[in-house]
């Protein structure tokens, strides 16, 4: 029982990362209708920047904030220079998918070129101690500080995003463009700027997620996000691709399912990678809109 609870908590922590990256995916998908396959690699590159800043002597929290800022600007620049020329109502959305696949390869190679192929270590922003709760005669349940941090960061991120989207004028503009870009432009909303902002925001969220993963590991290299992005896609698909909260909750769900699979299914090494795909398959067959996708009610 104690092992089970610990595994669930670990799963929630990992799921927080999947959820954070899925948030970034959904944010871009909602505003542009495009899946950014390079989201994970963008996050990986930002993580290297974070690491580079810490080796320069910056405290890790400061480094994370600065690299989020850099990612924000870079995300906007990528939208402007690499995405926008290939986008438009008269073009196939597949164009942008191809561009994002190209970015996936390019950013990965660039990271290896710039930062090398050796594994690096990003210090943890919180001390690596553990907290024991529900102590009893047979031990109690152990939670590490980094685990708590992952969950706390995700919660703060969700609240900040909710506030931005639901409580500010900027958020209303973003939602308007995501719902109907043409109509938004007729209301004087600069749709192009909003798309750029969406990319910038999700790049910054990715940078944060990347730093969280890297700091919870012994070392990281350019392959940091490559399995994580699969789980993030699983989370986004389960959540229905248009729901931010769905992405977060399904991220946690995938994380928990993942860690329980690792713990209790001994069938094959790597069986846990099959799990998200199986989940996607089942959910999409039973509920094509995802668990949290809107069933669009539209009347004319």
């Amino acid at each position: 029982m104690q092992l089970f609870v610990e595994q669930v908590i670990n799963g929630i922590a990992n799921g927080a990362i999947y959820g954070a990256l899925a948030l970034a995916l959904v944010l871009i998908f909602r505003s542009t209708g495009v899946l950014n396959f390079a989201q994970g690699e963008m996050a990986m590159f930002s993580t290297f920047i974070t690491w580079k800043l810490t080796t320069g002597g910056l405290p890790v929290w400061g480094a994370i904030l600065i690299s989020m800022g850099i990612a924000f600007i870079a995300g906007a620049a990528i939208e402007r220079t690499l995405i926008r020329p290939f986008e438009g109502s008269n073009r196939s959305p597949l164009n942008v998918v191809i561009v994002s696949l190209g970015m996936f390869l390019a950013i990965n190679s660039l990271a290896q070129l710039v930062f090398g192929t050796d594994p690096q270590r990003l210090p943890s922003p919180v001390p690596n101690r553990r907290l024991t709760i529900l102590e009893s005669s047979n031990g109690g349940i152990n939670i590490t500080y980094p685990t708590l941090m992952l969950i706390a960061v995700l919660i703060v991120e969700c609240i900040a995003l909710w506030w931005l989207l639901q409580r500010t004028k900027l958020g209303l503009k973003l939602r308007a463009v995501a719902a109907d870009a043409d109509s938004a432009r007729l209301h004087g909303i600069k749709a192009g700027s909003m798309l750029m902002f969406g990319w910038a925001l999700s790049a910054a969220i990715g940078a944060l997620a990347g730093a969280m993963v890297a700091s919870s590991r012994v070392g990281f290299d350019a392959s940091l996000m490559q399995t994580i992005i699969v789980y993030a896609f699983a989370a986004a698909a389960l959540g229905g691709f248009d729901s931010l909260w769905g992405a977060v909750l399904c991220g946690i769900f995938v994380g928990v399912a993942n860690s329980l699979t690792v713990q209790y299914v001994n069938a094959l090494d790597g069986i846990e990678l099959v799990m998200p795909l199986a989940l996607i398959l089942i959910v999409l067959v039973v509920m094509p809109n995802g668990l949290f996708g809107k069933r669009t009610v539209e009347r004319v």
């Binding site: 209303l172 308007a176 719902a179 043409d182 432009r185 004087g188 909303i189 669009t296 009610v297």
Partner: protein, 235 residues
């Protein structure tokens, strides 16, 4: 000087030219009506004004040329365009839709305007928390009108507001539009297939035929002109 002036405006979509030299004007405080069959270029005329398509010729608003400006820039100058299909933000709430209408206003009267419009359209007020896409076509058309008015526009462009609405709802809509024009001096350019209803609130009317103005006259006179009615309007 008219509020809006179009001078030999030509244009279309890619290789397909739809407008072949449109001359048209909307006077301050008037309702101008554009009639015509399907494919005559009515919607394209409005899209040309809003900057949604590339055009040759000149379009002046308050004396300033607006050709080549983006839709968002044209909207910020005070032209509100309710497109065909009403432009409803379907998965946003009615309230959010209304606030989008006022998104670029800097004055502090957005809240009081909201209250005013909800008073005028109680159905919208009742459903302010509801998803806008779940409302009926008539309610969505009322929402589109109220949302456009939230911008406090100087000129309202309406594209076939009666499309898909029950006759009774259409009549109410035009009655409201007539009130807005008379009581608030709202200038309107409305494109319609429902000629008699549109002419009843209009001051001046144009009949479009294959991208050209075929006939224009005072709305009342056009309504009484049996030859024009038979040839172009089909009633």
């Amino acid at each position: 000087m008219s509020l809006l002036e179009m001078e030999s405006v030509a244009g279309g979509y890619g290789q397909v030219q739809v407008l072949h030299g449109i001359d048209l004007a909307v006077e301050q405080g008037h309702v101008a009506v554009v009639l015509g069959a399907n494919g005559a270029g009515k919607t394209t005329t409005l899209r040309a004004i809003s900057g949604m398509i590339h055009v040759q010729g000149d379009i002046r608003f308050n004396g300033t040329s607006i050709v080549g400006r983006s839709p968002e820039a044209v909207s910020r100058m005070g032209i509100a365009h309710v497109p065909q299909g009403r432009g409803t933000f379907t998965d946003l709430s009615v309230d959010d839709n209304m606030r989008i209408g006022a998104i670029n206003r800097k004055d502090g009267e957005v809240e009081s305007d909201l209250a005013t419009w909800y008073d005028l359209f109680p159905r919208l007020g009742d459903r302010r928390r509801q998803q806008a896409g779940s409302m009926s076509g008539g309610e969505q058309q009322m929402l589109a009108l109220a949302r456009a008015m939230m911008a406090r526009p100087k000129l309202l462009l309406l594209d076939e507001p009666s499309l898909g609405l029950a006759p009774l709802v259409t009549r109410e809509l035009f009655a409201r539009l007539g009130e807005l024009n008379r009581e608030q001096g709202l200038s309107v350019l409305v494109v319609e297939q429902n000629a008699s209803l549109a002419l009843s609130i209009g001051h001046w009317a144009y009949v479009l035929e294959t991208g050209r103005i075929a006939v224009q006259n005072e709305a009342v006179k056009l309504q009484d002109d049996e030859a024009v009615r038979k040839a172009y309007l089909g009633f």
